[in-house]
């Protein structure tokens, strides 16, 4: 242990004696580790937001859109109402909601604001009552549409959070809005729907109202939201058949979170590429260490000679230089990991990511830097150990 401490002391004295040279040879590991740590950290942090989004949305939500099997021009495909019940009966399905977006409706917070708001169409969506449960989105205030609203045909509406903000709607405020001049009482505000941001500024009404007030004939939806926690993929594949039953009506399905998942896969490839580039920087850094230390061995040949004369063996001399490389690797690794972490923090702050940095990852890459430095130090250490003291001391 004492010998170890002495070796570290000698190595540190050798390195601190030539600070600029030491810093320059340390730059290789610093840049290499910083590049890898920051690339992985930034990627993880950006992916972390995606993952958080995925967790929030769940990966078991299926969206089925009506599709005209014939695909005629200008067709307005719908899913038959009874198909919704068939989908709901599928074994893995826990919740289904049906929606239909109504068109050509002018929505106003109050009649007097018509001049201003006429230019901004607001989506009006007829929906079944399970929508918040299926989308797993809570209400910010009030309540969602209920059975009584549906059966009585009461003109009530739920509005999206953005619309509530825009209209200056206060929680539980008795307020009505105008849909093509027909007054609807606002009973609740739906929280943000990450999967369908358009819903944030939409008005939700019952199908009963839609049939009553707008000319849609049948309460057939154009879109279904299906929550299927198990066998999501197979359920999604089955739904078109369940909807059409061989008839002309059809549906195509998608799992929206698949897209986010695919996005994180792409990032994984980028991750590997940046790791390779960082690895390359480390290797170049290693070559730099070997190069500069070899020159240093020549410059310090007199010191090596005198140490040999003072009784230091070849092995001790080799260890001395190897420890210098080790110290370069350790400090380079620590500084590189620190710099990389700093870059990740800065970028996360700038882009609004939640910073994700694995401490074990930092430690691992710092260790790689140490390993590279030690391997790079092998050649100069061996060279130093092989110097003949008589040749370096130039006796009288």
């Amino acid at each position: 242990m004492r010998r170890f401490r002495e070796l570290v002391g000698v190595a540190l004295a050798g390195l601190t004696a030539r600070k600029i040279r030491t810093f320059l040879i340390m730059l290789g590991p610093i840049l290499g580790v910083a590049a890898i740590v920051s690339a992985i950290g930034i990627n993880e942090s950006s992916k972390g937001d995606l993952k958080a989004k995925l967790r929030e949305l769940g990966t078991d939500l299926i969206v089925a859109n009506a599709q005209d099997q014939i695909g005629g021009f200008g067709s307005n495909p719908r899913i038959p109402e009874e198909a919704t019940a068939r989908v709901a009966r599928l074994p893995d399905v826990v919740s289904v909601s049906a929606t239909l977006q109504l068109s050509n409706i002018v929505t106003l917070p109050f009649a007097e604001a018509s001049d201003y708001y006429r230019a901004f169409p607001v989506p009006v969506i007829a929906t079944t009552l399970e929508l918040p449960a299926t989308l797993e989105v809570p209400l910010v205030s009030g309540r969602f549409l209920n059975d009584y609203d549906e059966s009585s045909g009461a003109r009530v509406a739920v509005i999206g959070k953005d619309l509530a903000n825009e209209y200056g709607y206060m929680a539980n405020e008795p307020r009505s809005i105008e849909l093509n001049g027909i007054s609807y009482g606002v009973v609740g505000v739906l929280d943000y729907v990450l999967l369908e941001p358009s819903m944030d500024s939409a008005v939700f009404i019952t199908f009963a109202n839609a049939v009553e007030d707008w000319d849609i004939e049948e309460p057939d939806p154009s879109r279904l939201y299906i929550r299927a926690p198990t066998n999501t993929k197979y359920v999604a594949e089955e739904i078109p058949t369940v909807v059409s039953l061989g008839g002309p009506d059809g549906a195509n399905t998608s799992v929206p979170t698949d897209l986010l998942d695919a996005q994180s896969q792409v990032d994984e490839n980028l991750n590997n590429l940046t790791k390779m580039m960082g690895g390359l920087a480390l290797v170049v850094g290693g070559v730099g260490i070997a190069n500069v230390m070899s020159i240093s061995v020549i410059q310090r040949s007199s010191e090596i000679g005198i140490r040999r004369a003072l009784g230091h063996s070849r092995g001790t001399i080799a260890l001395q230089f190897l420890f210098e490389a080790l110290v370069v690797g350790v400090l380079g690794g620590i500084l590189g990991a620190g710099t990389g972490a700093g870059v990740v923090w800065l970028v996360s702050e700038m882009r609004g990511y939640t910073m994700i940095l694995s401490v074990s990852g930092l430690f691992r890459w710092a260790l790689v830097s140490v390993a590279v430095a030690v391997v790079a130090g092998l050649y100069p250490s061996n060279k130093a150990a092989r110097l003949e003291p008589l040749e370096t001391l130039r006796l009288g």
Partner: protein
């Protein structure tokens, strides 16, 4: 006079592979405790080769080198280095101090890897520096010292491990007259019954200050004279 501390027995040193240079031919020499001797000779006489072999910095082509009773030329490097560090102290013409270390650090270098505490190393090094009258300059680097002072630091480094033999290669060669005289005084003061001091020089004044003078020419010992009182 005691048992030999250092002895060469039929030692030859040949350099080169195709063209052979016989730097030393069949040399035998004993250096005993208490001796103060010099090895003199013109350039190319083999005295530096002799110093390298006496200091176990080099190995002979044939013959035997012994430190006390231990035959060193058959020992592995680690063992030979350890023995060299314990038994021999070197002083060089060009001082060969490590530039980035202080005087104390340079002296301490001779005590590294000997299982001594830092405190002990420091204590002994300061004592050695006091002995050459440089105790108050212990934190100075070589560049802040004169040639004479640097050589005194080198002498402190040579004696700090209490070696059996101090080998000095042209110790006054790079010094002015005053500093040279000062260094020679220090060597004279280092004489003891347990230790031998061997100066290698071409300077006859240096040789004249020692008790025994070994003269060399063409790789052979051509004279071995006692000049003073044998202790």
């Amino acid at each position: 006079m005691g048992e030999p501390l250092l002895s060469l027995e039929g030692v030859s040193r040949v350099y080169g592979e195709e063209v052979l240079v016989h730097a030393l031919r069949d040399v035998s020499l004993d250096i005993r405790a208490g001796e103060y001797l010099s090895i003199v000779g013109p350039s190319g006489s083999g005295k530096s080769t002799m110093l390298g072999l006496l200091g176990v910095l080099d190995l002979p082509s044939s013959g035997t080198i012994r430190i006390q009773d231990v035959e060193v030329n058959t020992l592995p490097d680690a063992e030979r280095s350890r023995l060299r560090g314990q038994a021999i102290g070197f002083v060089f013409q060009q001082f060969h101090l490590v530039p980035h270390l202080t005087a104390l650090g340079n002296v301490e270098t001779a005590l590294l890897y000997r299982n001594l505490s830092r405190k002990e190393r420091r204590r002994r090094s300061l004592e050695a520096l006091e002995l050459v009258d440089l105790g108050n300059r212990h934190d100075h680097r070589p560049v802040q010292m004169s040639g004479g002072e640097q050589q005194r630091v080198a002498i402190a480094r040579a004696i700090v491990a209490e070696p059996l033999v101090v080998l000095a290669d042209e110790p006054t060669g790079a010094l002015d007259t005053r500093n040279a005289a000062n260094v020679m005084e220090i060597f004279a003061g280092l004489r003891s019954d347990e230790r031998a001091i061997c100066l290698v020089s071409h300077d006859l004044d240096v040789a004249g200050a020692t008790d025994r003078r070994i003269s060399m020419r063409d790789g052979e010992i051509v004279g071995d004279e006692w000049q003073g009182s044998v202790s």
